[in-house]
């Protein structure tokens, strides 16, 4: 299928970049010129060929570099991957979901062979060839969730369901938008979303929870979230805030185009069959402002969204202090022309 993996870094010299093809398939999250929180969930059904929705789990040119970055984060701080003792079965469910999806969707990259509970997994890009016994942790080098999420892009959390609530009780979180798994693990749905402004008052979380409690196996859903990140840093963790926080004070009119990134999370939700838990993959896509404005519709629209965003949201997302500089930069790419509905780029 001709996927070439970039050699790039998400730290230090920050050599991360998007190819022109990666820019065109970027999941731009705004389908209109303004933004407010909503439940905005839709069925996670296969999308058009080439888009990030084509497959259940998208594998793109950043795969190997993202997995290298994850390994570095875990070596620094093993608490980024945790699973409370009762969540092991959900971890196996997740392993099965990812392995089956990838082997089906990318047969030239991944293979899964099953003989009863004896499984054989091949991950060609990462040069992994592993035989193991499904549901037997002793046959894998890590627990099932950690094993498979060291081979899958994006963060993952697992939610147990009980007492008409969801409980975040396992996760692999190394590409997060400033929240701590170590602190939040064990919380209920409204608790771990507590710091989000405005959305509680709008009833967003009540509706979302009610919906998710009824989520069915085989009928996953998806939604977007987004924020801004200075430099292509996947690991914007609260743990390391003193390390990356100062970069927020370094944005100037001269560097905003090359250092400010739109950070989009494609979040999907899957009911897991054996554990009745819910898997929540949070896939992070980064794009530099000067890459993004090569799509004229997105440059126009991002300017309007950022300019008009309520101050609470810009503060919560951490870019209020740089908003004026960002808006000035983006304004150069907004000629005032109307934008077409939906997020897709206009045909060239």
């Amino acid at each position: 299928m001709g996927l070439t993996f970039n050699t790039e870094t998400f730290r230090g010299d920050f050599t991360f970049h998007n190819s022109p093809a990666a820019i065109r398939r970027f999941p731009f999250p705004f389908d209109r010129d303004d933004y407010m929180y909503s439940v905005n969930m839709e069925p996670h059904v296969p999308g058009p060929k080439g888009t990030v929705f084509e497959h259940n789990f998208d594998v793109d040119e950043h795969y190997l570099s993202e997995m290298r970055d994850r390994a570095l984060v875990l070596a620094e701080d093993p608490l980024r991957c945790q699973s409370l003792p009762h969540m092991t079965l959900a971890g196996w469910d997740l392993l099965e979901l990812i392995m089956e999806s990838k082997a089906r969707d990318y047969p030239d990259l991944f293979e899964l062979h099953k003989n009863g509970n004896r499984w054989h997994w091949i991950n060609r890009p990462m040069q992994i060839d592993q035989s193991f016994t499904f549901l037997d942790e002793t046959t894998l080098p890590y627990g099932p969730m950690e094993y498979i999420t060291r081979q899958a892009q994006g963060d993952f959390t697992l939610q147990d369901q009980r007492d008409d609530n969801l409980w975040i009780e396992a996760g692999m979180v190394t590409t997060q938008a400033d929240w701590s798994l170590d602190f939040d693990i064990g919380m209920g749905f409204h608790e771990w979303h507590a710091p989000v402004p405005k959305a509680h008052e709008l009833g967003v979380f009540d509706r979302a929870l009610k919906f998710l409690l009824k989520l069915q196996h085989g009928a996953p859903v998806r939604r977007f979230n987004w924020t801004m990140t200075v430099d292509p840093l996947l690991d914007t963790s609260p743990e390391n805030y003193p390390v990356w926080g100062p970069t927020r004070a370094m944005i100037t009119p001269g560097n905003v185009g090359s250092r400010m990134h739109l950070r989009v999370e494609l979040q999907t939700l899957h009911r897991l069959p054996r554990s009745n838990a819910i898997a929540f993959p949070i896939r992070c896509y980064l794009i530099r402002f000067d890459e993004l404005v090569t799509i004229p519709k997105w440059g126009r629209r991002l300017h309007r969204v950022i300019r008009d965003l309520p101050v609470e949201l810009a503060t919560y997302k951490g870019f209020e202090r740089n908003r004026a500089t960002m808006v000035d930069y983006l304004a150069r790419f907004d000629d005032g022309a109307p934008t077409s509905p939906g997020w897709m780029p206009d045909p060239e």
């Binding site: 009980r162 009824k214 085989g218 009928a219 054996r274 554990s275 009745n276």
Partner: protein, 321 residues
């Protein structure tokens, strides 16, 4: 937003008479593929074409969740019911093609429990059979207390005894054997969770006893599917679809809505899950709320109805559907 998972087209592989009242049905996929895995306590909705009447009844999956070759349910014949169980008993034969909904679990085990105390009455044993198989495979601690009217109606007792030994305790009403609930509840280690499935009276007794013994609410789990009750026919206006429908005596409101070609969400069809909750736009009369979902205040307000089990008596009922 849709929650619809793909339905499962199946062939009836086996029909087994378990005792005078209960038959077991085994379904396999028509395409020969594996069934989706499920968690102990899950149910499926079985779709029946009963000579032109569409019936959709929920039944607990009772097979081993690790067995992906087929699904098993047990159906107790209910002579006074609306006909779903009679249809299953009298008309379903091996080789027949049927359709199942995807599994949904409204009676899940609490994975944190130090021990699982399972209390079953009669046909209420079925979800526990799947749960025990799953617990056994994963090394979970459990004990079962299973009461039946008499030895002949104690479905699956010998097999369960053989599989799980003295973790299975049986009781027979006609031999005046009663579960010594106070002693049982007093002896459990901290972190035990209690599960009860059986007749309404038993569920009430177990829940009240647990509360009196100081068991926290969140450690006591029950499952009670309501069969939609029969009643007097009534008429309903469906405002959103612009239709007027009549609900037959042995038909549920949800079934009547579906029969009119109007799409309505559902999961359990037994008044428990809340999925079919519908707004009442106007009501001149009395809604018979038969569900476990709406709060007493919501029921009294007359602004919501659960069409899977609830009925209406009066002049006008207008629904937002």
């Amino acid at each position: 937003m849709s929650v619809g998972a793909p339905k499962i087209p199946v062939t009836v592989a086996e029909v087994t008479e378990v005792n005078d009242l209960i038959k077991r049905f085994r379904f396999v996929r028509r395409d020969g593929g594996p069934m989706p895995p499920f968690s102990g306590g899950a149910h499926v909705v079985v779709e029946m074409d009963d000579h032109g009447t569409r019936r959709m009844n929920p039944y607990s999956l009772m097979g081993d969740p690790a067995d992906s070759t087929g699904y098993c349910i047990s159906v107790r014949r209910d002579e006074a019911g609306r006909g779903g169980s009679l249809y299953m008993h009298h008309h379903v034969r091996p080789g027949m093609q049927m359709v199942l909904g995807a599994p949904v679990n409204l009676f899940a085990l609490d994975a944190r429990a130090r021990e699982h105390l399972l209390i079953a009455g009669g046909i209420g044993i079925t979800p526990f059979i799947a749960q025990m198989a799953q617990l056994e495979a994963l090394g979970g601690r459990f004990e079962l207390h299973y009461a039946a009217r008499n030895r002949a109606l104690g479905a699956y007792m010998p097999a369960l005894r053989a599989a799980y030994g003295d973790r299975v305790h049986t009781y027979f009403d006609d031999e005046r054997q009663l579960i010594d609930l106070p002693a049982l509840l007093a002896g459990q280690p901290l972190g035990t969770h209690l599960y009860v499935c059986g007749p309404k009276g038993m569920i009430g007794w177990v829940r009240a006893s647990a509360e009196a013994a100081g068991w926290p609410r969140a450690t006591v789990h029950h499952e009670e599917f309501l069969a939609p009750p029969v009643g007097v026919p009534f008429t309903v206006d469906l405002a959103a679809s612009g239709k007027v429908i009549t609900v037959g005596a042995s038909q549920s409101l949800l079934e009547a809505i579906e029969a009119a070609g109007v799409e309505a969400p559902y999961l359990c069809r037994g008044g428990a899950c809340g999925q079919c909750e519908t707004a009442v736009l106007a009501c001149d009369g009395h809604i018979q709320h038969n569900d476990h979902w709406l709060t007493d205040d919501q029921k009294a307000s007359g602004t919501r109805i659960m069409p899977c089990v609830s009925r209406f008596e009066g002049r006008t009922l207008v629904l937002d559907r």
